[in-house]
């Protein structure tokens, strides 16, 4: 799956009859299948892009460890200060960060587990089983991806008001139990990773379909399920629109708590606000630091074959 690091050997000119000049141009134009060697401009641009990508993250740490006064007095500080712990305490005083972190963890875990489970089942069916209406149904799955959440929140809000779920995290979990993206992702993964002969063989041995799922599909799907689980977890952790509507500051997810921190009525200490942003981002950045390559591989693998 994640063959991103594969290296096509950078072939030299194989055509021996070439004049030196043509060979040079050939080499410069990079005939090795798009795998030309990078020049210094490439490095310069990429280093610049890396700086732009990482600087706001670095500066989050800087601002989170300064006082509010330091932050609003130019020149803007560019090195971390010594007020991180103090700011963290204020964050915890102003919003219920512990509850928010626990809520976000519960929500993202439930959503990730259920999405991965259902997506694997459906992905397996779409990839390896024959049934009437398969292609039409798969098209329908893809089409559902284009429906924005704005079109569903009003009735959903009426429903959760009626059953008294406003401010309860099940109202955020339930509507996210499946994701079309996940079905599509697992279908792509399994159509490559699972040899159809394996399913046939299990059938011939008299295995019923639950056995096949448990003993054949799940073991082979595991790497794909892991990547999908991470992607869904990140997405769910960062989700804002519906949690903002369905929850409130008494029982928030991290994102909702952050919004509260940023728009609070109290005199806003900006260093504290940024410190909250740091708390919300740190768990995911740690995951990223450890599993970044797998996530990179997962994103590209899931999106490539359209």
């Amino acid at each position: 799956m994640a063959q991103l690091t594969q290296q096509i050997p950078s072939a030299g000119p194989r055509h021996s009859g070439m004049s030196p000049r043509a060979a040079r141009r050939w080499r410069r134009a990079g005939a090795a299948g798009g795998q030309q060697r990078a020049g210094w401009i490439t490095y310069a641009v990429l280093i610049f892009a890396t700086l732009v990508s990482l600087f706001p993250l670095y500066w989050t740490v800087v601002a989170a460890s300064r006082t509010g006064t330091e932050l609003v007095t130019p020149p803007t500080p560019l090195l971390p200060g010594s007020h991180l712990v103090e700011n963290l305490k204020i964050v915890w005083n102003q919003v219920d960060m512990t509850k928010a972190l626990i809520n976000s963890t519960i929500v993202a875990t439930c959503v990730a587990v259920s999405t991965v489970l259902f997506a694997t089942l459906a992905g397996f069916a779409f990839a390896k089983l024959e049934f009437r209406g398969r292609n039409a149904l798969l098209t329908l799955v893809v089409a559902t991806m284009t429906i924005p959440p704005q079109l569903t929140v009003i009735p959903l809000y009426q429903i959760i008001t009626k059953v008294g779920w406003v401010g309860h995290i099940q109202s955020v979990i339930l509507p996210s139990l499946v994701a079309a993206f996940g079905v599509f992702f697992m279908r792509q993964f399994l159509s490559e990773a699972l040899p159809v002969e394996l399913v046939e063989a299990a059938r011939v041995d008299g295995a019923h379909s639950l056995r096949i799922i448990w003993h054949v599909v799940f073991p082979i799907a595991r790497p794909g399920m892991a990547v999908l689980g991470m992607l869904v977890f990140v997405q769910s952790w960062n989700d804002f629109f519906w949690p903002f509507i369905a929850l409130n500051q008494q029982n928030p997810t991290v994102q909702v708590a952050l919004q509260g921190l940023g728009s609070g009525d109290h005199t806003i200490n900006q260093a504290v606000v940024v410190c909250g942003a740091l708390v919300a981002t740190l768990p995911l950045l740690l995951v990223f630091a450890v599993l970044g390559r797998q996530i990179v591989g997962g994103i590209t693998a899931g999106a490539i074959k359209n």
Binding site: T5, S10, W26, R28, G30, A31, A32, G33, G34, Q35, Q36, V45, A49, V52, S53, L54, P56, L71, P74, P75, T76, A119, L121, A122, A125, E130, P148, Q150, L151, V153, P155, Q158, L177, S191, E192, V196, E200, R203, G206, H208, S209, N238, F240, F244, L258, L261, S263, Q270, V274, A277, A280, L285, F288, G292, R293, V296, I299, A301, I304, K305
Partner: protein, 335 residues
Amino acid sequence: MATSVRATSDGSPRPSRTDPSTNRKSGDPGPPGGWRAKAYRLDTKASPYAYIAPFFLCFAAFGLFPLIYTGWLSFHQVELGTHAKWVGLQNYTDLWNNSFFWTALRNTFTLGVISTVPQLAMAIGLAHLLNYHMRARGFFRVAILAPYATSIAAATLVFIQLFNPDYGLINQLLGHVGIGNVQWSSSKWPAQIAISSIVTWRWTGYNALIYLAAMQAVPGDLYEAAALDGASRWRQFISVTVPSIRPTIFFTIIVSTIGATQLFGEPLIFGGNVGVSGGSDHQYQTLSLYMYDKGWQVGELGQASAVAWVMLLILLLIGAVQLLVLRSNRRKLGS
């Protein structure tokens, strides 16, 4: 990575098993023929539907039903907890006559354009560079994806600081090149640019990786042939890379357009306590914010539903246009 999707084109449904009763002999003394074979056939026939059922049931409950119900509500006057009263097209005509709706529509469009067009252009350029053979390629890829790990709320709160007109880093930097105090929140275009930059920052790396994956699937022969014809790197990029990854470009354009149409969190949080109205003068209120404003601040759920359905119609319209463009492109290519 192969581009082909094999799925189940491998012949007839169950070629290996002719009759379930023949292989039951291997260690399974069930009743001859009869219910086991029947159960087996039922299992094979029904199980695919059982596997896809959870997805479609959830979608029906939390996607399709609310979608249609929103349409129904849009023809009613309804507040939370009250009975809906049929008002026909009034919600839509009210929108038509409301200048804030048009402002929101325009803002959604301009924000959409300035947050997706430069983003996708930069992503494709970065992907091209990342496709070179180089040192630290793994590091570069993870680094440009890092913003994807931040949330809308966290990223926006940090960018508010950077874009602060009085003490923000960006105005300080601009001051060095002689650009005066830009009012990043109170004047319209600077505010929209600031909000777009949050979107662009979070998603450029993600799209670059998608493009990169597509570029890696382009067969090397094409480049070899182009190089032998004396095509420069730039020429190869334009005539080989871009046409080869056209489906992926199309895909990212659709996804980004959908994302841009529903822009909500960034302008809301960027505006602080005037976020819902999209700034003190509605200068960056999007349709999504306008809908929230109508539904949850004013309490007119019928009006909010009409806004939602307008969004759906716009998306369908954009989708149809994009499809037409794709079709005519295909015809031009003669494939």
